[in-house]
């Protein structure tokens, strides 16, 4: 399977990655190479195998529904670039 230049540009945009236009071809070919490995894995007959959701053969442990966290806002916000009235401030986003 091969990825086109447009695929790479799209994936990069969705992942918010900045890629230099000169590098796109290179990434396309490298990523295509990885997908070729996946194709080889896909060639194996797995019809009798239950798909795995996690490499560990274990099930999720559950916690009791109890409030165990206390307010640490000041500590967390001490590393935030900008805060006001208890809110984290970010560049304007509007729908």
């Amino acid at each position: 399977m091969s990825l086109e230049v447009e695929d790479v540009t799209k994936i990069a945009r969705l992942a918010r990655l900045e890629i230099k236009s000169g590098d796109v071809e290179h990434y396309a070919s490298e990523l295509s190479g990885i997908l070729d490995f996946v194709d080889r894995l896909n060639a194996a007959d797995t019809s009798a195998v239950t798909p795995m959701a996690h490499p560990l053969e274990q099930v999720q442990r559950l916690r009791e529904d109890e409030v165990t966290e206390t307010n640490q806002r000041e500590l967390f916000q001490s590393i935030a670039p900008e805060v006001e009235d208890g809110l984290y401030l970010v560049p304007k986003v509007i729908e």
Partner: protein, 477 residues
């Protein structure tokens, strides 16, 4: 051309847990910004999500209540997108393997029952809130809501009108409150809905292109927003245009939907299983244990009220609208020992009316079931007439106490002593000879005048049945 409307709803019900779905932070509503957002909710490096047992139980409970398949094994996935109120850059949700599979719910519209399919219901975390006003051109982010457990309930595209959509949503709203998994507070966003709306020519098999209408947080808005969107799509097609698949936001102030273009590009969420979470297993023993906690469901309760108390479908529906009102009613029936129909009339009439007028919930009622039963008893044994009972009710509501003391203290006891009533009637007949002549001359409508006089003399306390029985022969002479 005749068009058919096709609607599917995605309902988000906030699960009423004490702590968040993957962290031990509180979910209480209304805290000061970011005081309930812990390191896990903020997505700080090195934290791990740990699943809340109660959220799982509630999801399963819902599944059992709609007769759905419960997945023995379900998987959490990452839904990837960037937005400031989603600090991790992904929302933990369920994708391929949701905890609740296919189920159904029956709705009733215009007297007809229709079964609506529920495709699935899955667990996920809520995002935070962005506030766009007043921050010097910046956006403020409050992450208290981030990580609040949600159950997303997805319907089949089985709904054929805005009315059906509202009926379905109301039915679910009632159900989640009955089974105590969601407080249903729509104003606080605990129960909200997105609608997938499309139209197709009547008779056509395949669905038309759908638009998703977001931000529907009241029953009234849903109906208006869907009707508006249907009209927009039909107009568009009939004038040669094409519906595009997109997300539209309902603006209640303008009563219109508008495109959210920014969401379109983001519609590629690249789901994959979350490596931080192991598969969730729900075995038969857990399912059985949860099934035991299911209360009588609304439809069952309604039918029982009709059968057991001999109520009309209409009365039964009003009384079972909430579990609390139904419980109140049954307590009154039991404690008063009165005719269930009489109890129903007073609970749905005077009592519910007073709650509505005061704008309060049943839990805040100044009158409890015991006090109310005290009054019903006295109506039932004819100590007071219906009219006087209303006065007693008002006094109970305003001043508290119990019906018997009020009746005693205010001297409101009905006069059933026929001797006493007879004496009053004789006096009135003697005082109103003119009207008696007219009555005997054929103006029988004057009966009402005499009854009124007796009631006036007795301040409404005379037993009306007794008055009529005694009055008529005397007037007829």
């Amino acid at each position: 051309m005749e068009w058919e409307v096709v609607i599917g709803l995605e309902i988000h019900a906030q699960l009423a847990t004490k702590s968040k779905i993957f962290s031990g932070a509180s979910t209480a509503y209304g805290a000061a910004p970011n005081r309930q957002a812990c390191a896990v909710d903020l997505g700080l490096p090195g934290v791990l999500p740990v699943l809340n047992k109660e959220a799982v139980r509630m999801a399963v409970k819902f599944g059992l209540a709609i007769d759905a398949e419960i997945a023995p094994r379900s998987v959490f996935a990452r839904k990837n997108y960037f937005y400031p109120d989603l600090p991790k850059g992904y929302q933990i949700s369920q994708f391929e393997l949701p905890v609740v599979g296919i189920g159904h719910i029956d709705i009733e519209v215009d007297g007809k029952v229709k079964r609506i399919g529920v495709t699935r219901a899955h667990l996920e975390e809520d995002a935070g809130k962005s506030l766009h006003e007043d921050f010097h051109g910046q956006t403020g982010v409050d992450l208290n809501r981030a990580g609040t457990p949600l159950l997303e309930i997805v319907s089949e595209p089985d709904l054929r009108s805005a009315k059906e959509a509202v009926a379905y949503m109301k039915k679910l709203h009632e159900l989640v409150r009955y089974i105590d998994i969601c407080d249903g507070n729509m104003a606080e966003g605990s129960f909200r809905c997105d609608a997938n709306v499309s139209v197709r020519p009547k008779g056509q098999e395949e669905y038309g292109t759908r638009a998703e209408v977001k931000n529907l947080n009241s029953f009234r808005f849903i109906e208006k927003a869907i009707n508006h969107e249907v009209e927009r799509q039909i107009d568009l097609i009939e004038t040669g245009g094409k519906v595009v698949q997109e997300t539209r936001l309902y603006d209640a102030n303008k009563d219109e939907t508008r495109s959210m273009r920014s969401k379109e590009e983001a519609n590629d969420y690249r789901y994959f299983p979350d490596p931080d979470l192991l598969p969730l297993e729900v075995d038969e023993a857990l399912k059985a244990a949860i099934r035991k906690t299911l209360p009588e469901l609304p439809d069952e309760k309604r039918q029982r009220f009709i059968d057991e108390y001999n109520l009309s479908a209409y009365d039964a529906a009003i009384l079972t609208a909430t579990k609390e009102l139904a419980g109140f009613y049954e307590q009154v029936v039991k404690a008063s020992g009165a005719d269930p129909k009489l109890c129903s009339n007073w609970v749905t009439g005077e009592f519910s009316g007073a709650l509505n007028k005061a704008g309060i919930e049943l839990s805040d009622s100044p009158i409890n079931a015991e006090q109310f039963s005290g009054l019903i008893k006295r109506i039932s044994d004819e100590t007071v007439s219906g009219k006087i009972a209303k006065q007693v009710f008002e006094l109970l509501w305003e001043e508290g106490g119990d019906a018997d003391s009020i009746i005693e203290a205010k001297g409101l006891k009905q006069i059933t002593d026929s001797g006493a009533i007879e004496a009053i009637i004789d006096q009135i007949i003697a005082d109103n000879q003119g009207q008696v002549e007219q009555y005997r001359g054929g103006k029988t409508k004057l009966m009402g005048f005499f009854v009124g006089q007796v009631m006036k003399q007795t301040q409404g306390k005379a037993n009306p049945g007794e008055v009529n029985k005694l009055l008529k022969p005397k007037l007829d002479g």
